[in-house]
């Protein structure tokens, strides 16, 4: 019996350390919900995206909320989210331009120097007839991240400048979120590191400016996304009112 209880407790403790302050919400009493749903569901109730349990949100949330039944993260508290994610998105955009205009790696071998940027690498795959692969790399490492950054700017800039949200901003935000699993820059960075070591045996490899800006870009992107506050944005982008 002991073995069965230690693992969940340990896991629970890790979760607590990862996002404290931490709070498990209480599921609401059904009677309360049935009474005031009106046109749409009540705003203080959230259905868990993983198990569909209805969780009641407290009035003022300054903690991470977990689903009472399956432990999924329902809400993370994020101060100044619009300003922070806007600043980080602009940073990421600059780093992205830098990463795509300078060579990644240069290889020296017996007087021959071979330089490559991300785009020439993709072009090389295309020339070898691996069109699907070239398109996949282009999508996951260039187009999707770029679309995500442009989308975030489109949403956040008008909100920051205090205007009404841009036309169709809610749809853009939905697409930005849906496309997120297909942006794989951090995986690409891992690929660069593996390739560096792999080729280390064969020739001298000189990492270019791009490798460093790409490394910074990954952190800027991750920070921009983790400082987003989706419930707040959905509320601000809601044009029904």
């Amino acid at each position: 019996m002991q073995d069965f209880t230690i693992a969940p407790m340990f896991f629970h403790r890790i979760q607590q350390l990862l996002h404290k302050p931490f709070q498990s919400v209480h599921p609401p009493v059904p009677a309360e919900i049935i009474a005031p749903p009106g046109e749409y569901g009540p705003p203080n109730v959230l259905a868990c995206h993983d198990c569909d349990l209805l969780n009641r949100l407290p009035e003022q949330v300054t903690a991470t909320l977990l689903c009472a039944r399956c432990g999924a993260v329902l809400y993370r508290y994020k101060p100044d989210s619009i300003e922070r994610s806007l600043a980080l998105t602009l940073t990421a955009l600059i780093l992205f331009l830098l990463s795509n205009s300078f060579p990644f790696l240069a290889m020296k071998s017996g007087g021959l120097i071979q330089e490559t940027t991300l785009l020439t690498g993709i072009h090389e795959l295309w020339k070898q007839g691996l069109h699907g692969l070239a398109v996949l790399v282009l999508l996951t490492c260039v187009l999707v991240p770029l679309a995500q950054m442009m989308g975030l700017l489109y949403i956040l800039l008008p909100l920051k400048l205090g205007q009404r949200p841009a036309a169709g901003a809610a749809h853009v935000f939905r697409l930005v979120q849906e496309v997120a699993p297909w942006g794989m820059m951090e995986v690409f960075m891992m690929g660069i590191l593996v390739a560096l070591v792999k080729l280390g045996h064969m020739a001298t490899i000189v990492p270019g400016i791009s490798v460093f800006s790409f490394g910074a870009l990954i952190f800027a992107m991750a920070a921009a996304f983790s400082s987003l506050d989706p419930p707040l944005l959905w509320d601000r982008l809601d044009l029904r009112r």
Binding site: A47, L54, A72, L125, L133, F173, R174, F188, G191, W234
Partner: protein, 209 residues
């Protein structure tokens, strides 16, 4: 689980997949799309089990050529050498770079196989309306969703090698046929995980009570 707790489905509410707005079933019927973010509305992901099964089978078929055929073909001074994923791992183990060997092994061999096994396990458990540790099964699902993307590492390594190593007759690396199959496995398993609806795990428990 507290007896007073209810799910959105039991109260006739639909949770928008994308913006988590709760919509009453009557409203959803009239609109079809979420009034706030425009996402297509459904109570559960449509045809979740059938779609996930289909994608899992496709991945099982593709994973065989991905592991048997060569992923890179290296030409060094006229001599050609074809490497499969596993022979690459073994090469690095033998030459002492066990870090690289373990990264490639975990990302390209362990993760895709583990992901397929977990998805099959989840699909079967939903199919047989299992009540076994639903919370852990949900965690397992979250894990497969999170970790799948890292399998792309090998594809990126091949891209970089192909672009960089083209020194004419001295040394050149070409992508082998397995690269395409392997990329197919990664993309298809990602779609499979996306199509599986973890709420089905919990539905079985509520219906059996």
């Amino acid at each position: 689980m507290k007896p007073c707790a209810a799910t959105a489905r039991q109260l006739g509410l639909i949770n928008c997949h994308d913006c988590h707005l709760l919509i009453t079933a009557a409203q959803a019927k009239a609109h079809q799309h979420c009034p706030r973010c425009g996402a297509h509305l459904h109570l559960r992901k449509p045809n979740s089990l059938a779609r996930t099964w289909a994608l899992v089978w496709a991945a099982i078929i593709l994973i065989i050529p991905a592991n048997v055929l060569p992923i890179t073909v290296t030409t060094t001074l006229g001599a050609k050498q074809a490497d499969t994923i596993m022979s690459g791992v073994i090469y690095f183990m033998q030459t002492g770079s066990w870090e690289i060997a373990s990264v490639i092994f975990i990302a390209s061999v362990f993760v895709p196989f583990a992901k397929l096994l977990i998805l099959i396990f989840l699909l079967l458990s939903v199919r047989f309306r299992s009540e076994w540790r639903p919370k852990d099964r949900t965690t397992l699902y979250r894990l497969t969703e999170l970790v799948g993307r890292w399998s792309m590492v090998d594809i990126y390594v091949v891209t970089i090698l192909v672009a960089l190593v083209k020194l004419g007759a001295v040394a050149a690396i070409e992508a082998g046929p397995a690269a395409v199959f392997f990329a197919g496995v990664v993309v298809i398993t990602m779609f499979a995980a996306e199509n599986f609806d973890p709420r089905l795990i919990w539905d079985a428990i509520e219906e059996n009570v």
